[in-house]
Amino acid sequence: MELGKGRSSVRGAWGRIVADTETNTPTDPKSFEDKDRIRTAGFSVGGLWDQYGSHVVTVVNLICFFILWEVFARSGVVNKVFFPTASGMFGTLWEGLTRSAPPDAIISGQIIDHLLYTLRTLSIGVTLACLLGVPAGLLMGGNRYVEKILSPYVWGMASLPRIALVPLFILFMGFTVKMQITIVTLSALFPIVINAWAGVKTTEKSLIAAAKVFGASRTNIYVHVVLPYTLPFIIAGIQQGIGRGMVAVIIAEIFGGSNGLGFLITRAADTFNSELMYAVLLLLVIISLSFIKITRMIEIYIAPWRQQVVM
């Protein structure tokens, strides 16, 4: 009889757990939480607000910000050469993105052409950094000798501000795309290497032990434990790499070149075209945020368990 009682408490405990996971129909209706009941109650204002509320707040917030900007700029407190109206900035941005330069133009004045140029340089550079950095990081994590040999260079290069290398590369390669790509690659490379390396090194010991106990060979452990464990680290590394690469490409273009958003900023400044300059800056913000958002989504898709840890 006593045992029977014990068993029912098992069910009670597990029933509660079942309800917690939200993936299955709870076995014990009493364990529903009020919050869940409201959320599943169907179409309601509360449900809509839960889903879209934060977006609404953001949009309203931004609209207020740009209206204040507009009012401030029109008030004439600051000279329009330094501080254009928001509407002027958006107008320039829209025009620059929708109209391409005539085919016979030597240097385009349109934002879209420079944007595509910059994105091309950036993506080539980051791709090269991935191709070099991911294997290098994995090797460093997996092999003590490779680690010993490469780590002083990796740390040295990672701690050197890559921008300091720009004059050197201009000396080597001139004001070319090659120079710009090299700088982007070097900037994006080290976050990628270091993250992949750290991923391998921090693979949980108990996971490796479990794989060993259940008969995994060295290759099995690398393929079935270390690599999946490291994958989210690699994604995080690439995310950082894109950010660094973005900085690098703009700086490389500001330093030298006749194309790209960095060049466009300097030219806008030289010609006192503040609307263009602010439009490009806003565009850079939008691009960076989109990259972060996209890589986050990839991360969540590939490694949903890590989100749980972070939150």
Binding site: G6, V10, W14, I17, T21, T23, L207, A210, P304
Partner: protein, 287 residues
């Protein structure tokens, strides 16, 4: 719920009364095991001069203060650590590495977070060549999913489950290959008290049914008495066997009736006095 999992293809199973037969399965002789600490470039002895025999079908609990080398002991049985001195044999053959006859349940579950519940249970079959067809493996995984009552959670990921459920996945993974020996490293230490008791009784039920030999690490005296046929008390590092005690109490021992028996409290007192000195002297010199 009560599945028949006794149909084992274990060639050397003693078909008679396995508890009475006293057939030695795990034999450690003067075993000393340790680790190499990379950082400090020194060797650390975890267990010294261990001599112990575990019989087939026995449930042995290892009890001792933390850091006493209990984990090293079962690591040596599992074969992921090899002894420096002395020998350890399983079923008459010296341990040279992990094998499908031994499986382990871990304190932190050690489930692969990127694998679903089902895929985690399937993992040992992927690494070990057991000569089973895909259909046989499917049936096996299904049967053990059912045994630990995780039907309906096949496609869930470990992070979506509670601690108790995760450990049931860990237990199913260990039992699914039907090993002769089940090693458990404080499997219920991280689980809340109510669920823990339930899981202890479930584990007892599983292994009685499958006649597994169990080496179970715990730092809870009650857990050791509740589950063990014998209790091995290990001293502080470097761990040595301090005493081996038989538990002659009727099973199952979860009822209050058994817990209120004088024999239970006597044994509890006895073990506490053995462990107390170790725990107190270890409280200051830990690590």
């Amino acid at each position: 719920m009560f599945l028949d999992v006794t149909g084992r293809d274990d060639a050397s199973t003693n078909s008679g009364d396995h508890r009475g037969a006293q057939q030695p399965l795990i034999v450690a002789k003067n075993m000393t095991v340790g680790y190499k600490l990379h950082r400090e470039r020194k060797l650390l002895t975890a267990l010294r001069d261990i001599t112990l025999t575990v019989n087939r079908g026995e449930f042995v609990c290892l009890l001792g203060p933390s850091g006493c080398g209990k984990t090293t002991f079962i690591n040596a049985i599992s074969g992921i650590v090899l002894p420096w001195e002395g020998t350890i044999e399983v079923d008459g053959a010296p341990v040279t590495g992990p094998g499908p006859d031994r499986a382990m349940v871990f304190q932190d579950y050690a489930l692969m977070p990127w694998r679903t519940v089902e895929s985690n249970i399937r993992m040992p079959f992927e690494f070990q060549k057991l000569g089973m067809s895909k259909q046989q493996i499917d049936e096996r995984v299904e049967r053990y999913l059912d045994l630990v009552e995780l039907k309906g959670f096949e496609k869930s990921y470990p992070y979506e489950l509670s601690g108790g459920m995760r450990q049931r996945v860990g237990i199913a993974r260990a039992l699914a290959t039907e090993p002769t020996i089940l090693l458990a490293d404080e499997p219920f230490a991280a689980i809340d008290a109510m669920t823990r008791e339930a899981m202890q009784s479930e584990l007892e039920r599983f292994v009685t049914k499958t006649r597994q030999t169990v080496v179970f690490i715990t730092h809870s005296i009650d857990e050791a008495i509740t589950l063990g046929d014998r209790i091995v008390v290990i001293s502080r590092r470097p761990g040595r066997i301090k005493e081996v005690l038989d538990v002659n109490l009727p099973r199952p021992r979860f009822d209050q009736d058994v817990k209120s028996l004088p024999a239970y409290s006597e044994l509890r007192e006895r073990i506490w006095s053995l462990v107390k000195d170790e725990a107190l002297s270890g409280a200051h010199g830990e690590e």
